[in-house]
């Protein structure tokens, strides 16, 4: 099971601008036909094509004699990229490739460090290759291990626990206050872009009861369409606050629109139920003193940014732990492959010895004329014992060298010593 038959070529947000990435990006169907085409040409035995907005990577099983360099050329040509873009591609093999894939699956190579979506995208690519018949045994093993490592990184380092974006920070805060977000009601004040980003995050997490109020009713209606929201007349938004659990405010008002006195009344009418107010407007929409009221949790854009920055710092620290974990997992995987390879070699040598034993026993029996079944059995067993006694010590020693002393070349030497190259056996036979 030679790992050097697997190669990776690709580019990501760190090395290529979006203009190149978007031209290289593959839709599922395009990816499948690309994979099938390469397989039919014999350029690869199989492959997994990972295409996201931040990266396009091709993990190819080249078989024996394939070249990663030629794949870059094929890909550049297939996507109509300029020849100069070849220099943007990276190519990896062996340990570097394993380490890279494990890091990608764990979100360490993502634009937002530690983000979890990438694992789903890697899995989608894997399933696409599997369903399209482009997954080889080696790639299957490699990707299965990558999924396992990614999961381990997330659970053991907790890299994804802290939010690193403003919208995720707001969402996390809401989860700290409310038990079931899907049953909560959200009020959006101001139908601007920032409101839209935050509302999208909450909407995607299952909140369906959305109300929107905007000074310009037309903009509110357009906003409401996206989120299937109810439009509230601007003048009545304080009343809507009474029935809302989360308020996102992002108006262009020159001064505060939510005052302490107003909020006191709202809290009384809410029977002191908790409310999360996210004020992302500049200048601020909500008086700072509102945050001092019991049950009103007020966060402005700076507070959220601070939460996100803290999260990023923590993720950087966790990423270092994750790198160490990945390094040790790469070693484990390499050793596993070596053992797999050794098992295959030993099985091959034993099969080869059995084959010789059968042939030679048959020949001896033929020459010896008529023997009783008992005599035939004695002869068969004697030859079998000789063959296996000869092999016993070398097998034990090669296992010890590979498993205990980590001498990976030992398995190749063992194979060369005991397994004749193609044609050699026939030559020996002819000579007899």
């Amino acid at each position: 099971m030679a790992l050097n038959e697997i190669a990776l070529i690709g580019l990501n947000h760190k090395v290529a601008p979006v203009e190149v990435r978007e031209r290289l990006a593959f839709q599922d169907e395009e990816a499948l036909s690309f994979l099938k085409g390469l397989k039919e040409e014999g350029a690869v035995k199989g492959g997994v094509l990972l295409s996201t907005c931040n990266r396009v990577e091709f993990y190819a099983d080249l078989g024996q004699g394939g070249s990663a360099e030629s794949l870059v050329g094929t890909m550049v040509k297939a996507r109509g990229l300029a020849e100069s873009s070849r220099s943007l591609f990276y190519a990896k093999q062996g340990r570097n490739l394993i380490s890279h894939l494990f890091g990608v699956a764990a979100g360490l190579d993502s634009m937002v460090l530690g983000e979890p979506q990438i694992l789903g995208q890697v899995k989608d690519s894997y399933f696409l290759a599997r369903d399209g018949g482009a997954l080889t045994t080696q790639l299957n093993l490699l990707f299965q291990k990558a999924f396992h490592v990614a999961k381990k990184v997330r659970t053991e380092t907790g890299i994804g626990e802290r939010p690193v974006t403003i919208s995720y920070a707001a969402f996390n805060l809401a989860r700290s206050i409310f038990e079931d977000l899907a049953t909560k009601r959200i009020l959006i004040l101001g139908a601007g872009e920032m409101s839209r980003i935050l509302a999208t995050h909450f909407f995607e997490s299952g909140i369906r009861q959305v109300k929107v109020a905007n000074r310009t009713r037309e903009r509110a209606l357009a906003f409401a369409k996206t989120f299937d929201a109810e439009v509230v007349p601007w003048e009545t938004f304080p009343r809507a606050m009474v029935q809302s659990d989360i308020v996102i405010s992002s108006t262009g008002a020159p001064s505060c629109i939510i005052h302490e006195a107003m909020m006191k009344t709202v809290m009384q009418l809410r029977r002191n139920a908790s409310i999360l107010i996210i004020d992302i407007a500049v200048p601020r929409d909500v008086e700072a003193s509102v945050g001092k009221l019991d049950g009103a949790y007020l966060y402005n854009v700076d507070d959220l940014q601070e939460v996100a920055d803290e999260g990023l710092e923590q993720r950087k620290r966790k990423a270092e732990e994750a790198e160490e974990l990945i390094a040790s997992e790469v070693e484990v995987y390499e050793r596993y492959l070596e053992h797999q390879e050794l098992s295959g070699i030993i099985e091959g040598v034993v099969a080869w010895a059995n084959e010789i034993q059968e042939t030679e026993t048959g020949e001896a029996l033929r020459r010896m004329g008529e023997l009783t079944p008992k005599q035939q059995d004695v002869l068969r067993k004697a030859i079998h014992r000789v063959a296996h006694k000869i092999l016993h010590n070398p097998i034990t020693q090669v296992k010890r060298l590979v498993v205990e002393e980590d001498v990976s070349q030992a398995s190749d030497i063992f194979r060369d010593l005991f397994r004749p190259r193609e044609g050699q056996q026939e030559d020996e036979g002819d000579g007899q």
């Binding site: 802290r162 700290s176 002191n272």
Partner: protein
């Protein structure tokens, strides 16, 4: 023997509970639960053997009350703990159990002449209801403390992530449920004693002291917390502080046993 095993298992459950708070591994929670179940079995055998030997429920002095309180806490965990979605409460519960176990061993035993009331079924009913009631109050205390911690973090814009505590809503819900369950049992426990006094004409033997004052104070404070919840006249933070104060005051009931 059974008493030492009890302590050993409860200390083990505390170790697993504290580790669970930090690492959140299911295996640690299970180990914590199994240790508590094993400790509970050993403790129940111990209490039952003492009860059958003396014919008095083993809860007549301060040491025994501490012991019984730890039993009540674990009993609630074993019978209702699976309902709680967020299991981090074991981080708070297990040290409390060990605290009462240790207190039962450290506090010097004061031998007192058993009163005739101790030999009646009323006393067993009275003590059992109160112990389980106080156990529920201590659960309410844990969830109220979690609420205060979360609320403090959120108000001061600190990330409330360290222990991945339950949400404010969940903390309030469970703190209130435990309070109400405890309040019903506690009130019934107090009434059982009063009913005994009336039935047996023992009203003249009733002396107000620390035990009685603390019992009434707990009943009033926690009753006010329930009133604040039912009418929504008190905000969740004030209600949490009341629950904490009420549950903490049960300590005076326990101490009152010493001078009773």
């Amino acid at each position: 023997m059974a008493a030492n095993l009890t302590l050993l298992f409860y200390v083990a459950s505390m170790a697993f509970g504290l580790l669970y708070g930090g690492f959140r591994k299911r295996a640690l929670f299970l180990l914590c639960s199994f240790s508590m179940a094993a400790g509970f079995a050993a403790q129940t055998i111990d209490l039952a053997s003492r009860w059958s030997a003396r014919l008095i429920i083993p809860a007549t002095n301060l040491n025994e009350i501490c012991e019984a309180t730890s039993w009540g806490l674990v009993a609630i965990f074993l019978f209702a703990g699976f309902l709680l979605k967020n299991r981090v409460f074991v981080f708070f519960l297990t040290p409390l159990v060990v605290f009462f176990q240790m207190a039962a061993r450290i506090i010097p035993v004061v031998s007192k002449e058993p009163k005739p009331f101790y030999f009646t079924p009323w006393f067993s009913i009275h003590i059992s209801l109160l112990i389980i009631g106080i156990g529920f109050f201590l659960y309410s205390f844990i969830y109220s403390s979690i609420f205060i911690m979360q609320d403090h973090s959120l108000r001061h814009h600190r990330q409330p992530i360290a222990l991945k505590l339950p949400s404010l809503e969940e903390s309030v819900r469970w703190a209130t449920r435990f309070l109400i369950a405890g309040y019903v049992l506690y009130t019934a426990g107090l009434l059982s004693s009063a009913v005994y006094g009336i039935v047996h004409g023992a009203e003249d033997k009733w002396h107000p002291g620390l035990l009685e004052a603390a019992s009434l104070a707990v009943w009033l404070i926690l009753g006010f917390a329930i009133y604040g919840w039912a009418t929504a006249k008190l905000n969740p933070r004030t209600r949490s502080w009341l629950r904490i104060a009420g549950a903490a005051s049960t300590l005076f009931i326990i101490l009152g046993i010493l001078w009773h």
